[in-house]
């Protein structure tokens, strides 16, 4: 049997803050308290919870933005065995506000090609072919390569963000509230693209949202995060 795409074993994480003053007391708040979670290849795992329940902290641990306790395996390899860059080809992310994670002065084609350039993959011609492939997948005409990010609507930007995440052909995408700031009709288009990721590319998804109906619609498995613990739902 192949490795699960993502496996969390007894993961803990928290934040330390220091009260005012030079000799201020350090206090640690534990946000994740022994999380176990497995996502198989092609699985869509939904994570729900109220504000402040630790959903985003979990995403940040998986993406390697913060330190954590316990073990996180991505495609069979322990997260802390390599740098963020080493794992970039296995796991990518899409966030709520696509505009804040893109350089507003750059064009769509440049932004899509950038991950390949950074990872020194392919020749120029191969990279451009991959850009066209991904553009087609996210439902854009090749002419959109020349468009600036500021010319696009919120939904189009979110599709570009998904496109950027796809460039390195990851096994897993962590999507943190990817449709929360979009209108219902636009959100529907994005959700269809996310469903396609699994159907056509066999990708796995860790989908984080506060919308229960939405999560139950999209995901195979749903868990609720509350007080640092995970509880299965439905």
């Amino acid at each position: 049997m192949s490795n699960p795409v993502l496996e969390l074993r007894n993961v803990t994480a928290g934040y330390t803050s220091r009260s005012l003053g030079i000799f201020g007391r350090k206090t640690t708040r534990r946000v994740l308290d022994g999380i176990d979670l497995t996502i198989k290849q092609g699985g869509i795992f939904g994570l729900v919870g109220g504000s402040g329940s630790g959903k985003t902290t979990l995403a940040r641990a998986v993406l390697g933005f913060i330190e954590y306790g316990g073990e996180i395996f991505i495609d069979g390899r322990e997260r802390s065995s390599g740098s963020r860059r080493d794992f970039a080809r296995a796991v990518q992310s899409v966030f709520q506000d696509p505009a804040s994670s893109m350089d507003p002065t750059k064009r769509v084609g440049f932004l899509l090609e950038e991950p390949l350039v950074i990872h020194r993959l392919g020749t120029k011609a191969e990279r451009l072919r991959r850009v066209d492939e991904v553009l087609d997948f996210i439902g854009f005409d090749p002419a959109y390569k020349k468009r600036g990010i500021s010319e696009l609507s919120g939904g189009q930007r979110q599709r570009v963000a998904i496109g950027i995440a796809l460039m390195l052909e990851p096994k897993l995408i962590v999507a943190d509230e990817p449709v929360s700031s979009l209108d219902v009709s636009v959100a529907a288009q994005i959700l269809n693209v996310l469903r396609d990721l699994r159907e056509r590319l066999g990708l796995s998804l860790l989908f984080i949202s506060h919308n229960l109906e939405l999560v139950h619609y999209l995901c195979d498995e749903v868990a609720v995060l509350a007080e640092g613990k995970l509880a299965a739902d439905g």
């Binding site: 219902v184 506060h210 619609y217």
Partner: protein, 331 residues
Amino acid sequence: METKLLALENLSIAVGGGKNPPLAVRGISLEAGGGELVGLAGESGCGKSLTALSIPGLLPEGVRIAGGSIMFGGTDLAAESERGLRALRGSDITMVFQEPMSSLNPLMKVGSQIAEPLRLHGAGSRAEIRARVLEMIEKVELPEPERIYKAYPHQLSGGQRQRVMLAIALVCRPRLLIADEPTTALDAAVQSQILELLKRLNASLGTTVLFISHDLNVIRSLCSRVYVMYAGRICESGTAAEIFGSPAHEYTKGLIASVPRREMRGMPLLGIPGRVPPVEKYGDGCPFAPRCARRTGECGKRFPEVSRLSDTHFASCYRVASRGGEERDDE
């Protein structure tokens, strides 16, 4: 015929200057009876918020009412002076917006912010005002009224702040509360608490509520009657049961099909292709025609008349009109 508390008649709102400024709201009519919970639904950029702001005379600079009337309890607010409107705002007509933090003063204690409308509209002595504020804090179901009274907004959670906003809006016992996406910024659990609270307040105080949202689930759970707005026009209106049970307009159907529900698992969302056109490109025909899968030749030429489907259910669509206004789905 019974008189409605609020009746917008053929209301148009123009955006920008010049001789023929584009109309962002084009001749809409909308009614709300006393104590009713009425919903106004539609995507962003359809003119919902401008409609809401026009009622208490709060349209931003450069935007003005270009025609029609806003009848509120017998007076036409569209023709009312600024002074007259000011007397109504905060006492008879109040509003609650999406982001409570941007409407609350961070330097003022919550108690005095709730008291402000009472003071401005000259209601009683200090002791009386204090008593009414504490009563209102209890009414919006905030814990420990005395502590909340002395708290600053930053000491409260998002849901608590929105409760404070509701207290400010309702402390003068207005006849009309306009709620513009009041729960959009809150997470799911808090959102449903605020909606339940709004329902209870509507029942106990008898305040008419005009509830504006792009979230159909919210409108469905809250409102008894619904107007669906697209590109500055009302395309369909009816009771919540009619709108969600047997939607007639293709736009309403598309909106409903866009909302993911767990029963629809495994199926693609139908959604609506394309997006809302900018104000200058609204055109003369049915504004939804370019995105509509069932458009015909006449759709692009002239805006369809209103067809009556029942005493309460109306839609502006040639498809509906050609079926003689009868409720039937021929697919």
